[in-house]
């Protein structure tokens, strides 16, 4: 049994009276590619946002390599209006900002690409190196960190070469074609030296050819960088092809989990995606 990387326990995210993620528990183990699927509005991206610190979950806990990363319980006004489960189980509030979570080793990409669009490809990746640098404002301003800056630049160039983006390094990121922006976003996430990579619909807007290339690419980076990958995706061929295990989310609740074969034959999943006729 390989080590557990990400463990999500009883995570509930409630906005006003709407429960977007309802008591979600899941696990991702080292070296796996795990997919989170579900119909539109099922709460997949919200779940990602809870893991990466964009939202503070209303209730529940997220651990990373056995260490607690995020924990919260209903507090303030939510104390009265909370309608989720496991209300009294969690009693601590640990709410790091997204940058702390990235520093811990979880990197992510976004559903709608979020590059630094006025900066060059090289700078986009170089930014990710800022986090782990030892410099401070004074040493950086007066170039006392010369060696470190040089190392950051070399590592960035190295990464761009490995991702075959080095010929574009001086292009402005916002002017690149869509497919390359996607790849750049993944490259940028890799530059933060993550152990776990969260991909939010990486194949959105890609044609079948590009999707196939992406599938190979995801496998390749997992092996090259010894990553664990957790992915949200709509393209079923992609998901079924690359993932070791799947979680299916519907209306915020976990509907099913299992290997691709199991999920493909699960009647509840098929119903959730295709809908059930009420008079049947």
């Amino acid at each position: 049994m390989s080590t557990n990387v990400l463990r999500v326990e009883d995570v509930t995210m409630q906005f006003g009276g709407v429960v977007a993620v309802d008591n979600l528990s899941l696990e991702v183990n080292e070296g796996e590619i795990v997919a989170l699927i579900g119909p539109n509005g099922a709460g997949k991206t919200t779940a990602f946002n809870c893991i990466t610190g964009v939202y503070e979950p209303t209730n529940g806990r997220v651990s990373f390599y056995g260490k607690e990363l995020v924990e919260s319980y209903p507090h303030g006004r939510m104390k009265k209006t909370y309608i989720g489960e496991n209300g009294g189980r969690y009693t601590k509030r640990v709410v790091p900002t997204p940058d702390k979570i990235t520093k811990a080793g979880i990197a992510r990409t976004f559903q709608n690409i979020r590059l630094f669009s006025s900066m060059t490809v090289f700078e986009n990746v170089l930014i990710a190196k800022h986090m782990r640098a030892k410099q401070n404002l004074l040493t950086a301003t007066f170039r006392l960190n010369h060696a470190e800056e040089k190392r950051m630049r070399e590592e960035t160039l190295e990464l761009l070469k490995m991702q075959h983006l080095d010929h574009l390094k001086d292009e402005i990121a916002g002017s690149l074609p869509y497919g390359i922006q996607r790849r750049l976003e993944i490259a940028r996430a890799l530059a933060t030296e993550p152990k776990l990579l969260l991909l939010d619909e990486p194949a959105a807007g890609m044609n079948p050819q590009e999707t196939q290339e992406l599938a190979d690419f995801i496998r390749q980076i997992r092996d090259e960088y010894k990553l664990t990958i957790f992915i949200i995706e709509h393209h079923m061929d992609l998901v079924m092809q690359i993932s070791d295990r799947l979680y299916v989310l519907d209306f915020g609740k976990l509907l099913a989990q299992g290997t691709p074969e199991e999920i493909q034959n699960d009647q509840r999943v098929i119903d959730a995606y295709l809908g059930v006729s009420e008079d049947a």
Binding site: D99, F110, S118, L126, H130, A140, T141, R143
Partner: protein, 355 residues
Amino acid sequence: MGKKRNMILGALLLLAAILAIVILEKQLPPTHIALMVLKKGCIYSLVAVSMNLLNGFTGLFSLGQAGFMLVGAYAYAVLTIPVEARGSVYMYFDGGIINFSVPMLVGLLASGLAALLFAWLIGLPVLRLKSDYLAIATLGFAEIIRAFFQWDKLGVITNGSNMLRKYPTFNSTLFPFIASAICIGIIVLMIHSSYGRAFRAIRDDEVAAEAMGINLAKHKRMSFCVSSFFAGIGGGLLAMYQGSIQAAAFKSAMTYEILLIVVIGGLGSVTGSCIASFLFIASSEWWLRFLDSEMTIGNFKVPFLRAGFRKVVFSVIIMLIVLFARKGIMGDHEFSIDGICRFFRNLGKKKEVKS
């Protein structure tokens, strides 16, 4: 090779500018308007660049610049008034409670540090706000500071609403030029460092910047404090330039002037801010002066020309710039030697048209 050449050319340009200033000072009477414009232009360049760091590079829309300049100006004046002159300056407050004075350069540094301290304190609550709300909050802060410094109870330090004067000033135009150049140089170095990149990342996309491990609160505060530090020094220099200061002069109109300079020069362009501040000061104080006096050509009396008309024309020019050149003079590009070389090379190519 290109880098070395650029550095040499840059140094030569700087030397030429200093030489030009020295010659101008020798040739013109010391009160000539050109020298005034140069001095004030240098100071405004510094303040505009510091505001550009915040508004153009970090994407924080702050309107507190006049407030930080005021803090800087007062810190400089209060600390540097000679002990023997304090009696006459603080005549309503028994000579004030400060009975020491520091040298000019220490005072200038203190003006920056004082502004930085205020910025740090104000940044704690204010930097949680975004866009327009941040602008409103910082504008409010600047107004509060202005009232606060005129408060009677603080008169022993700030001289209440009375003027502060008799502190050391500069005579030479070189002083504000060199002081501003050093400060702008430091800002440029910072913008091109890893932190500058982080600031620009925050401007482009806060959520993504955070996902890249950039601590938003820390970096925003950093940018805010650095910007205020240099605004404070700009305020100190302005105090020196004017010879006497009064809190009532640091109105929000001053912030708007600087904001205009930043926008005209181009958000995110340091050289744009510098060029724009000289143009702005020159046209508002000098080149458009003729519009204020009546003029007759032969028997024809030119209509409209009277005191105050200058401001009307000036406003129209600014409106035209905002309407037709929304990105300002430089956009987000920088004025560089390479750029000029490229420009001339392209000109040459167009003439030759060889394949």
